[in-house]
């Protein structure tokens, strides 16, 4: 909050006015700011409505982005009460930064899935050379969680993947597949659900073993820790589990 006020004061100073800032008091509603991995958008927006219904007068604001981005934003002082990332590695970084408190709790799991554009134009049947049949495969770069998972999967299966592109985010991979630009892509099972009829899932043995675990934690800067904890309880509780399952997540 103090950072926002500092920004407002800076704006006032820059404009050459001579007020002291903070003139307009914020509305007296409670505000919960949730930073969450992009893949959680649908589920969290859904849960957000349930949360406001359970806590009248509370407004839930979301910021969805790549997990690494969120951790960097938090470290740079972004105001937030809850952080939910798409893997435990990035959450561990936030713990090391000291930007979250308490033990992060795993609330969802997401398995890797091989998807192809509707109609499977390249006739892909698997992830090995024969299965790919020369199809253009797109994966995430090893530097991001979905790419690390793809490498683990390839290692488990004893394959050397030769993708035509290593994207920065799983949404970029999915976009390349839904647009038909790529003939196959490794995404999460939730992405396959989101894409609906635009993609088909090609079953590959071993994918169910490569899962990303999604942890959630209260930030050290949380304005109202009780409210933040209430969000965690909702996500970890039966309502959260239902919403997550419907979106294609596994729950621990």
């Amino acid at each position: 909050m103090s950072r926002r006020r500092a920004l407002a004061a800076l704006a006032v100073l820059t404009l050459g006015a001579c007020g002291t800032g903070g003139g307009a008091a914020p509305a007296p509603t409670d505000e919960l700011t949730v930073l969450a991995a992009a893949s959680l958008r649908e589920v969290f927006e859904d849960l957000g409505e349930q949360f406001t219904a359970q806590h009248p007068g509370t407004e839930v604001t979301f910021s969805f982005a790549g997990s690494a981005d969120l951790v960097a934003q938090l470290d740079a002082g972004a105001p937030a009460d809850v952080l939910a990332t798409a893997d435990e590695t990035t959450m561990a970084r936030a713990v090391a930064d000291g930007t979250v408190t308490g033990e992060p709790q795993v609330f969802a799991e997401n398995a890797l899935t091989l998807v192809v554009p509707a109609g499977n134009p390249a006739g892909v049947t698997g992830l090995d050379d024969a299965g790919l049949a020369g199809a253009d495969l797109v994966v995430c770069a090893p530097q991001v969680p979905c790419g690390a998972a793809a490498q683990t999967l390839a290692g488990n299966l004893g394959l050397a993947l030769t993708p035509v592109s290593e994207e920065n985010s799983v949404t970029d991979v999915l976009g390349k597949v839904t647009s038909g630009q790529a003939e196959a892509g490794l995404v999460y099972s939730t992405d396959a659900v989101v894409a609906g009829d635009a993609v088909e899932v090609v079953p590959v043995a071993g994918t169910e073993e490569v899962v990303n675990r999604y942890p959630v934690a209260v930030t050290s800067d949380a304005d109202d820790e009780t409210l933040a904890q209430a969000w965690l309880d909702l996500v970890l509780g039966p309502e959260g589990r239902d919403a997550l399952t419907a979106a294609g997540f596994g729950t621990p």
Binding site: D136, S165, G180, Q181, A182
Partner: protein
């Protein structure tokens, strides 16, 4: 220091404007890990990205000059039917978010795109190739050259060309011997700006061409990726792009000032 008759208060917003751009750039410089800089800049991934960026930007700039100069001259000197529409379309990439440019390219040259399908039938597949990067760069850089050359051609007028023609020079000779030398400064600065824009191209490349080391992962894409795990490397590469961009801008300004001084 005088303010050339302007009210003194203009200094305040002007200075604020300089700070708005200058402070973030200076902030980046403060974060540069100078000690590790050589190692970070000479990693295989960095060198691949730099070399790819220089190659694709050069190719795209060449394409931009070849297509852009005739277009700029037509827009400046002829009453081309629908000139206003043509100019609007050509300048569009200047104001479009790069991701929109990328989507536009994808729906045209993509596998399922308008032209992409025809090209694939002909055995030409540009998906995920370096050619796609060059196309994306040319798409966003063309307006810079057209603006620069068209403006100069308009200002210069056709006096010299008319004289040359009355002296018996054919249209192509006039273009080569009179017009292009006259417009050389504007052409040079337009080319430099277009090259700089190509170097910085990010969104359209990411959306349209993909990202693979040595094939489609240019410097900006490498920076974006490095930021995920190695912020120091990202900052080091950013410094490299800032230096390259500044050198190109200085080159265009130096020429402009000399020309102004000669008058």
């Amino acid at each position: 220091m005088t303010t050339a008759g302007l009210p003194r208060w203009v200094l305040v917003p002007a200075l604020a404007g300089v700070l708005l751009i200058g402070v973030p750039v200076a902030g980046t410089l403060l974060r540069v890990p100078w000690a590790e800089l050589p190692a970070l800049l000479t990693s295989a991934a960095s060198l691949d990205a730099l070399w790819l960026s220089l190659r694709t930007s050069a190719a795209a700039t060449l394409l931009v000059v070849v297509l852009g100069v005739p277009l700029a001259l037509l827009l400046a000197w002829t009453d081309l039917p629908g000139a206003r529409v043509v100019r609007t379309v050509v300048l569009l990439p200047l104001v479009l978010p790069p991701v929109v440019s990328g989507l536009a390219l994808l729906t045209t040259f993509g596998r399922r795109g308008l032209l992409g399908r025809q090209l694939e039938v002909l055995g030409i597949d540009i998906a995920f190739t370096t050619t796609a990067v060059v196309l994306a760069q040319a798409f966003v850089a063309l307006p810079f050259l057209v603006l620069s050359v068209e403006g100069a051609a308009r200002t210069a007028g056709r006096r010299h060309e008319v004289v040359a023609a009355t002296l018996g020079a054919g249209p192509t000779t006039v273009l080569r011997r009179v017009t292009l030398p006259l417009l050389a400064p504007a052409l040079a600065s337009g080319t430099a700006l277009a090259f700089a824009r190509c170097l910085g191209e990010f969104g359209a490349t990411l959306t349209f061409a993909g990202s693979l080391q040595g094939v489609t992962r240019t410097l900006p894409l490498e920076i974006y990726l490095q930021r995920e795990t190695d912020p120091d490397a990202a900052i080091a590469l950013s410094l490299l792009l800032i230096v390259l961009a500044a050198a190109l801008v200085i080159a265009t300004q130096g020429r402009g000032r000399r020309r102004a001084g000669a008058r």
